[in-house]
């Protein structure tokens, strides 16, 4: 089945130790998103890729970087995690070419729960 996969599901890192979260998709969607979601809050968009074009949200900290080596994979790098970066990280995809059919429905992965010790 076509889907969005995130690995690992749970990640524990130490304060200041770089960590990478991964996302892969079999949907062949142009757009991939990274969201940060803290407890009982709405997902907050960090950045997105439209194909290889990278778009950073204005309030995304410099500590967060992303890479998209190909259509299928996207990575979130946190260079020096702080305690405030503990959260669920959600990857999502959409396909603007289907805009007039599904209206930019986003397909979410199961998330990676990051714990910072």
């Amino acid at each position: 089945d076509a889907m969005v996969i995130q690995n690992p599901r749970y990640q524990v890192t130490q304060f200041g130790k770089p960590v990478t979260l991964s996302c892969s998709q079999t949907l062949n969607h142009n757009v991939m998103y990274w969201y940060q979601q803290k407890s009982s809050q709405a997902p907050k968009l960090l950045f997105h890729y439209y194909d290889k074009d990278f778009n950073n949200e204005a309030d995304t900290p410099d500590n967060f970087q992303s890479r998209r080596p190909n259509t299928s994979f996207c990575f979130l790098d946190i260079r020096s995690p702080g305690l405030g970066d503990a959260a669920m990280y959600l990857c999502a995809t959409s396909s603007p070419t289907l805009k007039y059919l599904v209206g930019n429905e986003q397909f979410f992965g199961p998330g990676t729960r990051l714990t910072v010790l």
Binding site: S40, A42, M88, N104
Partner: protein
Amino acid sequence: SQQGEEDPQALSIQEGENATMNCSYKTSINNLQWYRQNSGRGLVHLILIRSNEREKHSGRLRVTLDTSKKSSSLLITASRAADTASYFCATVETTDSWGKFQFGAGTQVVVTP
């Protein structure tokens, strides 16, 4: 900044009852979508309503949209314990060409048997 505001923040009902939650937004939208999130999981798309639509149904779900009031409601009829989840509205603005979402704060629904 977050566009959508959801009301109520939390809702507790018994199986068989209906659950209604509301979402308000600030700008002109292309469409509004509702998503469900089970605890510790990703979001799942439930239903989309376009700006030129007023009401839409999908199974036990009914969504309304009032663009003059910039608000939407989601009704879940005959709720089940499996409907326990957080529900988020997300809007796509008319000026957006690629589908950036503005999420509401979410309504946490608990359905007790």
